[in-house]
Every structure is written in C-alpha cells, then in structure tokens.
C-alpha cells in the first residue's frame, strides 16, 4: 500500500510536469499571489502585517493548487479512461486517490516557498521567521492538512462528473472560512467556527505563528489531528461514493 502510494505520487507528479500548460501556471501564480498580497492589503508600513499577508496569499495559492490540481487529475482519469482501472485495483481506493491530492499539495508547498521568495525579491517583504525549525515543520504539516482536505473533496469528484468546475467553486468558501482572504474578526463568529474544521485554517495558523509567534505548536498539533480525521472521513466517503457509482454505473462516463 505504501508502494502504491509512493508510485502514485511519482506518476502524478510526472504526468503533471509533462503538461506545459500546468507548468507555466505553477511558475506564474506565485508572482501573481505575491503581488496581490502586496497591493491588495495596503500594509506597506507594517512589516509584520506584510509578512502575514504574504503567508496568507501563499497558503491560499497552495489550497487552490490542491483543489484545482486534484479535481483536474480526477477529471483526467475519466478522460483517459483509467478511472475504472483504478477502482478495479485491489488496493483501497483511498490509497490510489490520496497520492494525487498529496502530490498536488507538494506542488502547492513549492508554490508557497516561491510566493514568499517572490515577495521578498520584488516587494521587500521581510522574511524574519521567529521559529525557523517550527516553520520548516509547519509547511509540510500544512501540505498534509490541505492535501487531506483535498482527499475528502476528491471523493465527491468520483460521484460528480463536473469535478473540475466543482473544484473551482470550492476554492473561495474555504478562502473565506479560514480567514485567508479577510480577517476572521470582521466576519460573523460562525464563519470562524467553520474554519476550525478546515485544514487550511490550522495550516495557515501554524505557518503564521511559526513566522510571527507566539507558539506554533498547538496549531501544528491541530494540523495533524484534522489530517488524521480527514483521512478517516475521506476513506469512508470514497468507499461509499464508489459504491454509489457502481450502482449508478457512472464510472466510465466522462
């Protein structure tokens, strides 16, 4: 199963990297997001706020890449006609799908670093990190938490054929609910409560608190907790939705 996972990640990264269109996007988006962070939030005089904004923008980008990347990958399986073969494989379906979302997460992790780097390079965003070690840990934890939320969403892509458009539509609510776009304090409280259940919220907090203090460890812990929960929920959903797809006969349809 671990082999299937590793092999799957490798395959999807290679398949992804051989599409020039996707590749260009991965180069360009970090620059765009770094600029958004700089110009949109008028925070040029407040270095702490500027860094926080860049971090928020880079986590936003990571989330987008995961949702778009994995919904795109799943829709691709339908076009390629491989979805049925993946379902027919004897390993649990989650072990086939999780590598896709985590592979997108890894691409997202790179994009995070790239966004920060561009921010520093182009806009002098001060890259002062309070807990460098925790920061190095917070990034992969954030990748995991976001990748696993991607897994839960991917399970719905098995059921709904318009996976890609669904993926795009799912980007924004998560941006808002996790406080990436607007500070949670200006939103009704229940929105913040929703954020508690979302991986990107804890991922962002872990990264932000590692960079700006205070202690990032509670958020990192929460990342792991929500990731594990998502894994369990995602596996159960995938199993249930594959069953529904088998009974409706929609696996081969594009």
């Amino acid at each position: 199963m671990i082999r299937a996972f590793a092999s799957g990640m490798w395959i999807h990264v290679v398949q992804f990297s051989r599409n020039p269109f996707d590749l260009t996007g991965v180069v360009i988006w970090p620059i765009v997001y770094a600029s958004i962070a700089y110009y949109l939030l008028d925070s040029k005089d407040n270095p702490r706020l500027l860094l926080a904004a860049s971090l928020g923008a880079s986590v936003m980008l990571m989330w987008s890449l995961v949702v778009i990347g994995s919904s795109n990958a799943l829709e691709n399986q339908r076009w390629l006609g491989t979805l049925e073969l993946l379902v027919a494989a004897p390993v649990p379906f989650a072990a086939v799908i999780a590598p896709i979302t985590v592979a997108s997460g890894v691409v997202g992790g790179y994009a995070l670093v790239a966004t920060l780097a561009w921010g520093t390079l182009l806009f002098d965003v001060p890259l002062v990190i309070v807990h460098p070690l925790a920061f190095a840990l917070a990034v992969p934890c954030c990748v995991l938490a976001i990748g696993m939320l991607g897994l839960v969403m991917a399970s719905t892509f098995v059921l709904y054929r318009a996976a890609f458009s669904l993926g795009i539509a799912l980007q924004y609510p998560v941006w808002i609910a996790t406080g990436l776009l607007v500070p949670l304090s200006v939103l009704p409280t229940f929105v913040g409560r929703i954020g508690w259940f979302l991986g990107p919220y804890w991922g962002y907090r872990a990264i932000r608190e590692a960079a700006l203090g205070p202690s990032p460890w509670p958020a990192i812990g929460m990342c792991l907790v929500v990731s594990a929960t998502y894994l369990v929920v995602g596996t159960a959903c995938l199993r249930a939705f594959v069953h529904v797809a088998r009974s409706r006969g929609t696996l081969k349809l594009t």
Binding site: G8, E84, A88, P90, H243, R246, S247
Partner: protein
C-alpha cells in the same frame, strides 16, 4: 466449480434526461442472463451492439452492481466481495483509452504493478516477460502517446496480465485494429489459452470467435439466445446451404418476394466493396438458385457463390430470430 457462474443476471440503468423537465429513462441492459464458464476455458460472449456484453463484464469485474440475479467469479460474489475478485482477475477493454499517455509503457506497467500488488522482487521480471509476450520489448521507454493503436492494445493486455490473474476478461480486444494487428492480438490470446488461463472474450468478428473460443454464448437485447461450441452453433444451420448473390441495388419489395421463395430460411443483405451481396440461407441446397434468379429478373446479378454455413451465418440466424 465453474470459474464463472452467471444466473438470471439483470441490470437496469436509470438516468435522467433534460434539465428543466426531468424525465427518468430506464434501460434494461440485462434481463436475466445465465451461463457458466469452466476453469481453463476460452469462452466467447457474442451479441449485437447494445446486447449487454460490456455490462456483463463490468458486473463480473466488480465495476457495476447487478440489479437482480446472481453471479459468482471463482466462487466469490462480485457485488459483495469485490476485493477477492479484483486480486484474481484481469480486465482489458478495446480501444485506445485507459493508459497514461504522457508516460512511457514501462512507467504505466510499473504503476499498475504497484496498484495490483505485484511483489517487488518479481516486478521487473514480470514486466519484461509481458513486454516480450505482447511484442513491445525495445519500445517500452517511449511515451504511450506516440504508440499506434495496436501497440496500445497490446500494452493493455500486458497491463491486464501484470498480477497473473486467474481469469482474464477481454472486451473487444481487436476493435479498430488492422488485420495484422488483430492477428497478433489473437495469437497472444491463443497462447494465453494454451497456458490454461480462463478467458471471457467478447468480439464482433465471428471468425475470431470461431478460431479462438471453445464455447460461445449469444445474447441479444439483454436476453440469452443460445450457447454451445462453435460447431454446435453451426450445426443449427448445417442443414442449410448459403448462397451469396452479388447484386447492384435491390429494392425492399423484391427482397420480400425473395423471402417468400420456397426453401428460403433467411435473407440478409450486406455491402461489400462496390456491390451489395444477398446472403440467402437455403433449406433445399443449391437447387433454389434458379427460383431466386427468376425473382431477380430485371436486376443485374454478378457472381453467385454457394458455400457451407459459417459461424457468422449461424449468428445472423440466431440474432435475427431472437
């Protein structure tokens, strides 16, 4: 124990049509199909388009749930014990989909080997021997998007055999291949049969079924029509003689008159090259020819051939009367 048992199998597809006024449509793809495949047998499932062949295979390979009846594959229930079956069967469908185009054949096979739990120690040797079997050795590092259809099809077969399945399901493996490519695939299938694999094959080419299959079931419109060895099926029309008349445009009324000629069992019209060929099954041998020609006065008739019935004639008769 039979390798595959299918009993009164049913499957209904429900779909919704229209966005505003939603109508439900129902397609009864399988309406009670029964057959058995013995271990080591190469079994052919034949039938016209929409007969339910692919549906049957999807149910047996656990991709689809049946709506009624029962099935057993190697003693397991495909609806309830999919894991047991997935480990033990291979599934290959025709056409050029189902592969990662931007990866090489080798990468495709490696990935599926991991998904199908091929032990690491055996992986390399298994892939090498399969590439050899399907004649792709030496080209395995090229990207699949550069492959011809025949090469993709053969790569598909290699993929289906990675985990050394006990049963192989082949759904129209020669569709869209040129004669040479199709023959190569048939040779591969024949060598698998020689190795004692149980194979369930569907095809629209009767000579292919005749050449390969030990037993055949014919289904049409989701219903069972007939089963037996190719010889048994042919025996149903063996008392007949087939007369082929090359004509150039025969109108429907003429066809009707031909049908009512004494001794005619059936008439089918086929287009071959430039001519239209009337395939007449006669109960009274070649003596019928003058009577046929009499009805065709006024139309130009080319070659007239008299021959023994083939499996295709038996099939046309079975499906036509179903």
């Amino acid at each position: 124990m039979a390798a595959i048992e299918v009993h009164e199998l049913e499957r209904t597809y429900r779909s919704r049509k229209g966005v505003i006024r939603r109508r439900r449509t129902e397609v009864r793809a399988l309406q009670g199909i029964t057959f058995e495949v013995a271990a080591g047998e190469l079994f052919g499932l034949l039938g016209p388009n929409g007969a339910g062949k692919t549906t049957t295979i999807k149910i047996l390979t656990t991709l689809l749930l049946p709506s009624g009846g029962s099935a057993r594959v190697l003693g397991y229930d495909p609806a309830r014990q999919p894991g047991e079956i997935r480990r033990r069967v291979g599934h290959v469908f025709g056409g050029d989909r189902g592969l990662y185009d931007r990866l090489s054949a080798l990468d495709n096979l490696r990935y599926f080997a991991d998904l199908y739990r091929v032990p690491v120690r055996e992986k390399r040797a298994r892939i090498a021997s399969l590439l050899e079997l399907v004649g792709l050795t030496g080209r395995e590092r090229e990207r699949v998007e550069t492959y011809s259809r025949g090469m993709r099809q053969r790569l598909h077969i290699a993929r289906g055999l990675l985990h050394d399945p006990e049963i192989l399901f082949l759904d129209e493996p020669t569709i869209g291949l040129d004669p040479v490519g199709a023959r190569e695939v048939r040779e591969t299938v024949a060598s698998l049969r020689a190795q004692g694999k149980t194979i369930l094959l569907t095809t629209h080419y009767m000579y292919e079924a005749d050449e390969l299959c030990q037993r055949i079931a014919v289904i049409a419109g989701g219903r069972f029509v007939a089963a037996g060895t190719p010889r048994e099926l042919k025996a149903r029309v063996l008392d007949r003689t087939v007369i082929e008349l090359e004509t150039f445009g025969v109108a429907e009324p003429t066809l009707e008159r031909l049908r009512s000629v004494a001794g005619v069992a059936s008439i089918a019209s086929e287009t071959r090259e430039q001519a239209e060929v009337l395939v007449v099954q006669s109960r009274i041998g070649a003596e019928i020819v003058p009577a046929l020609l009499l009805e065709l006065t006024g139309t130009s008739v080319g070659k007239v051939i008299t021959r023994e019935p083939t499996l295709e004639d038996a099939y046309v008769e079975l499906v036509g009367s179903a």
